[in-house]
């Protein structure tokens, strides 16, 4: 292993771990103001929106790939399918699509 790559990895590991860890230390046992708590409860759903779009549209040069994948996932989830079924279902739909195209 070359030492400068190892140092790079150690540096990357440190700057990745610190933001993950810090909130648990900083806000340990602290009651945050109600408004801030409200915002933090909103964060997961807002994050999911930002993680899905526009990323899902850009998974392939063919934009239909993302649109069909998103539609399949939304439909399966709306029908009440379990997360793993949603995942496998959209993979299956896209496999059929890429087979046909």
């Amino acid at each position: 292993m070359s030492s400068h790559i190892v140092w790079m990895i150690i540096g990357m590991a440190a700057v990745t771990y610190i933001p993950r860890l810090l909130p648990f230390v900083l806000f340990k046992g602290k009651e945050l103001p109600g408004f801030v708590q409200g915002i933090l409860k909103n964060v997961p759903y807002a994050t999911l929106g930002a993680l899905i779009f526009p990323g899902i549209l850009l998974i392939n040069e063919d934009i239909w790939f993302g649109i069909i994948g998103a539609a399949a996932a939304f439909l399966a989830a709306l029908l009440g399918a379990n997360v793993i079924v949603v995942v496998l279902g959209s993979i299956a739909v896209l496999s059929v699509y890429s087979f046909l195209v």
């Binding site: 990895i9 990745t16 860890l21 909103n42 929106g49 526009p54 993979i91």
Partner: protein
Amino acid sequence: MAELAVGKPYGEYRKGVQSGISIAIGYAPIALTFGLLAKTTGLSIGETALMSLLVFAGAAQYISLSLLSLGTGIFEIVLTTFIVNIRHFLMSTSLNEKWDDGRAANKVILSFGITDETFSVAAVREEKVTSGYMLGLISVSYASWVICSGLGHLIGASLPQTLQESMSVALYAMFVGLLVPSMRKSAKVVFLAALAACFNTIFTFTNTLSTGWAIVLATLLSAVIVEWIENVKNRHRGQGHE
């Protein structure tokens, strides 16, 4: 109910592993490709595995490879990693609110495994999050990430082209699968997700911000705006009631 609460840790661990399976499936093609790309960038299998073992952050690891091949210096790569991963600060802060554990050491260790995916799965869980659950969730995701990175380097090939392409939707489909059940229950969730999606799309296509910051800012703007609107509405409705 009392006897159900006793002896929970193992049950919680198992539930975590079950929830982590979608993540493990989604990580597999990404990690295999990472291993392959690391090999073509000139990293040894030891370095590739070490990076996945210690960093455990997909986007940042990919970016580091492209920066390495451009001949970028280490300091710049580490700085870029920091910027790309700063969003986890927001996720940990949010998760801290619903994760109960009196022993601080558990959170200190397990926070290593907070990624976009493990956070999303834990954060939309209906029940409180426990350390046993997080351990299960993270260990199965982490195992998939590390093993598949190594395999990608070892085999020197990724999955067959069509399967690889179809599987690229996996993590996004998982996010959809996590979001939709909450959307059906609450209009607020719909607004939160839609608003953040719009902001992030605008930031991305106008190239105003790097990916890391775009997600942070889109999330925060949406979370604050929706909370503020709800507060104003409640104040109007609730005047005189409190």
